[in-house]
């Protein structure tokens, strides 16, 4: 057996060295040592199940040797594979040592053949997958879609106890507090919402939400801040209710709002 294989190595050397040289030029095109091995295996022109792993190992080692001669730097994993294949080759060539631990050369060779077959099968599966009809290329989804408007019905609940406690709270605490109008500089979301509900119907195109600020609220910084926050919150509320659409092209760019056009047709 050993002689046979040694002879085979000589026989390989001419054609395989030439093939290896061709492969080295294109070494970047390989997706790792297993891919290279698969390509080499295919040169044996036999079923992957019947490949000679020994021959394959030799082809690979020739490849690596040739690369060294040509001073082509191979990635580490190619060299690791070379070392492993050299080990495999010795296991395959030497008569089995009953003292040796670990799997036999044949077992290791069978597993390598399995890995190659599996990789080939996955390549084939990938090709078949990509050959299928694909959405957006062979078949198409609906072009004019409709959004599903989410209508949230809120049912409010309150008990008599809530009512009485609320009243008691006001009468015992708040009533005694002198009433001061301290909300001059606060624009509430409710106010903003009221204001925007009236205006949004007329805003067919994208409009900066800052243009919804009420008059007289855009000079003083604190008033402007409050009005901006309220307007923004109100804008979100309108979107949530399905009355408007909102967009912002990027962080800190103007936030734009537009009336949500109802379905026509």
């Amino acid at each position: 057996m050993a002689e046979d294989d040694l002879f085979q190595e000589d026989k390989l050397s001419v054609s395989d060295r030439l093939a290896a040289e061709a492969l080295i030029i294109d070494v970047d095109g390989f997706e790792g040592p297993l891919d290279l091995l698969l390509t080499l295996a295919r040169t044996q022109k036999v079923d992957l199940l019947k490949i000679s792993v020994l021959q394959l190992s030799e082809q690979y080692l020739i490849f690596v040797e040739k690369a060294k001669e040509l001073r082509i730097e191979l990635a580490a994993d190619y060299l690791v594979m070379a070392a492993w294949l050299a080990f495999l080759k010795s296991r395959l060539l030497l008569p089995p040592d009953p003292e040796a631990e670990g799997p036999s050369g044949d077992e290791l060779a069978a597993h390598l053949a399995f890995q190659l077959e599996r990789l080939a099968a996955m390549r084939d599966a990938a090709a078949r997958l990509m050959a299928r009809d694909q959405k957006g290329r062979d078949f198409f989804a609906r072009g004019i879609t409709e959004d599903v408007e989410r209508i949230k019905n809120v049912e409010y609940s309150a008990t008599l106890l809530d009512l009485m406690q609320a009243y008691a709270r006001i009468r015992t605490k708040d009533e005694f507090r002198p009433y001061v109008m301290d909300r001059d500089n606060v624009f509430t979301m409710e106010q903003a919402l009221d204001r925007m509900r009236g205006m949004i119907g007329f805003a067919g195109s994208w409009t900066d939400i800052m243009s919804y600020l009420p008059g007289g609220w855009d000079n003083d910084p604190s008033r402007r801040r409050s009005a901006t926050a309220a307007t923004f919150a109100a804008a979100l509320e309108l979107v949530k209710e399905g009355h408007a659409e909102i967009r912002q092209s990027e962080t800190f760019s103007p936030i734009q709002l537009r009336h949500r056009t109802n379905r026509d047709g």
Partner: protein, 225 residues
Amino acid sequence: MAEETDVRPHQSKPANESLFETPPMAEQERMVEAILFASADPVTIADMNARMPHGCDAKEAVEHLHNRYEGRGVRVVRVGEAYAIRTAPDLGYLMQKETTETRKLSRAAIETLAIIAYHQPVTRAEIEEIRGVSVSRGTIDLLIEMEWIRFGRRRMTPGRPVTFVVTPGFLDHFGLETARDLPGLKELRAAGLLDNRPPPGLAELDQVDDDEDDGDEGQGEMFEE
């Protein structure tokens, strides 16, 4: 002459027409169906013809398709010079998804409601005076929408402000026969609902309040002075 008219159509036929037969109308209908379905915008007859094999009659195919969709969940509609498939108008409601959520009434709303219940008829200004904060329009609207309060008679004072009163729906919800059945402050305190002692000097005020709670019609006026 006769010969010429015979010959002309053949001569004018482009090469591809003789090579590829015009598809049958049923097939053309499939084509316009797919085109109208997948296009993001309505498609004109000219555009359809340009996309379909030579010799097709998109206009006729669209008409067939239009008839086929008669009474279906979607229909072929004309939009200006173009055509599109759209949802049948009677099914528009399917494009909505309703969810019901039970939420606790906000503190502002429950307080406003309580004031209206105890002080009715009461104006908005009076409610704000009692709460110490302004009452948002949304709160009032919500309570009206829930049919727990409604507008009462206008107050015969300058500006003729509207008043608010509670509705039979409110009484029903809270299991009350009349708003007068609402417990007064004394009773609330007795029931342990009021744990914070009244600030000194307020005891008398409370007393007055409690008395007036019985005759709820008159209460509102207290704040107008």
